[in-house]
Amino acid sequence: MILLNSPLHQTLLDAIREAETEGNCHKWNKVLKTPNSSFADGFLAILDYGFPKGVFANSPFHELDEWLLKAEAWRRDILDPAATHDVGSLVLYVLWEQFRSTLIQLLRKSRLNSEIPQSGGLLVFVGGLSKCLIMRYEMVGETATLQAVGIVQDPKSVFDFWGAIDQVDMKTRDELKTILASGHKLVVHRGILVHVDRLRDFDVFGPSIDTLVLAEILSQEIFESKQLRCETAMEIGCGNGLLTAAIASNCESIRELFAIDTSFSAVSCTQRNVFSSGRFITRPQKLSVYLVAGPFRPSLINRRFDLVVCNPPYIPLPPTMMTETSQVADYFQAVGGTSLIQTVLESVHILLRPGGKLLLMASSLSLKETLSLIPNDCKVFTPLGEKGLEVIFDVYAVLKRPEWVQYLRESCGLIQQGNLYFHTLHPIWVELTAG
């Protein structure tokens, strides 16, 4: 669970405590219904508060997951006029209503802008990335039906539900199989729906667990805290566009947003996802979004930014493959090598205004090299601490090259456990000190 002490999280937590002491959920309802906090993660607040205890002590559910899987049917019981409601049930009801209405709005917009299928599966990451809800949806006119079919605890990859498949009944197994076999990847995180059509966007990277970790940190440390007044931002290597879409939608102060990717498909995918998730009409001030297809060059955009985010390729190449990269496809370049890390860190002074911040994803596979490239006059913060977050290494472009895997294991610390490989994510804030 990623929990970074954001003020909005504290407000939500206080609202649950108030429900317990006051016996009503007015504050909880008010905070969750505020349009500006539509990316708020109420599940994280409940997990942090503790379930089932306090206000939830009378809940018929022993665990939050049990409720999540039965929430749609349970909701009907709550709506029965003859039913009596304890305040804990109302807290859960408000959260579920807000959650499902956000999902339906996102699906409706994505159906218009991004041509998502009539029915299919959604992977919804909640609770500070501690849960991946696998949900089935079906569009009905301008709305949709939703049903949670499985939950992955502490997902270590976006598609980390192999374990879940073994533990579920045949019907759920079939549902999960259908979602997996679909040509569409729909990932939801904090009010953003990213759609990747695997046929059309075949060379678009992610969304991977790395991107989700960065999105969670941005949510808690930038969007929810508002400590950094962020008017200009850029994402370098936008891929599917999750981070660009999150900044466009959830960063209240943003005015100018740039996203660049070497792949045309990635930029096109980013455009669809930004416009599907964006709440542009309701923004108090105008936002300009500039999308650039082409290699990143520090001097390309004559601007200094408040915020730069980058989930770069961080997988070191074995010396024998160094010469190959210039001749292979964009997708390969989006995966291997560490040259973008070097380019970005060397241009921090050109990219950031004084006080501006770069959020960069690093991996244990190339952490030493990354840290050594950070300019001395910059402040460095590691939101996940020194330990980082261990995740599954599931980059197929690498896994299909045994000599590359061997190099990573022997020289870069890639860990093998059974049939799986693991590495550790180390997101890093690099701040250009003012003056």
């Binding site: 959920c25 309802n29 219904k33 009907r76 709550i78 709506l79 029965d80 006029p81 003859a82 409601h85 109302l90 009801y93 408000v94 209503e97 209405s101 339906i104 009905v140 006119g141 301008e142 709305t143 949709a144 039906t145």
Partner: protein
């Protein structure tokens, strides 16, 4: 005599007769259809009434309610098999989108009635006695003289500015 509800509606988002036609067509397809009850901003949802009706539905398997089209002054009877009500003031979206007309899909309503039948009835064949106006408790005083009196005409009902009338009728 039994207590029941008459719900006000008008073809505001459909062509004339469209509200009933859309519901009837889903009723024919699924055997049931959801009717969204809207109320005016100055009305309040009558929880005790809905609780009472809901308990009766559970005991009897349903009850007959009425739908009053104030635009065409037509009356319909409906077999109500379930009532759902928003526990808070935000309203609730359609409980089953496929079993509710599409114009409901983006809205939230204070209550939903699941209908198993729907047919036009002649007001003159029925006997309604005014019971109460729970969506506007402040009207109770003004309209006290109507309580216990027979509803004289649909026009008389129309002029009482509520979206839900509670009446006594012979079921």
């Amino acid at each position: 005599m039994e207590k029941t509800v008459i719900l006000r509606f008008r073809d505001l988002v459909t062509e004339e007769g469209g509200t009933i036609r859309d519901h009837a067509s889903l009723l024919e397809k699924y055997g049931e259809v959801w009717w969204g009850w809207w109320m005016r901003p100055y009305e309040i949802p009558p929880r005790p009434l809905f609780q009472e009706l809901s308990n009766r539905i559970q005991k009897q398997g349903g009850l007959i309610g009425y739908l009053f089209d104030t635009g065409s002054t037509r009356l319909y009877s409906a077999h109500i098999s379930r009532i759902l009500m928003a526990p808070l003031e935000n309203g609730i979206p359609t409980p089953e989108p496929e079993r509710s007309p599409s114009y409901y899909h983006r809205g939230r309503y204070p209550a939903w009635f699941l209908l198993r039948s729907l047919k036009e009835v002649n007001f003159l064949d029925l006997k309604f006695i005014y019971d109460s106006f729970p969506t506007m408790p402040e009207l109770q005083g003004t309209l006290a003289q109507l309580q216990g009196k027979r509803v004289s005409s649909l026009e008389q009902m129309r002029q009482i500015d509520v979206t839900l009338w509670v009446v006594q009728t012979e079921q």
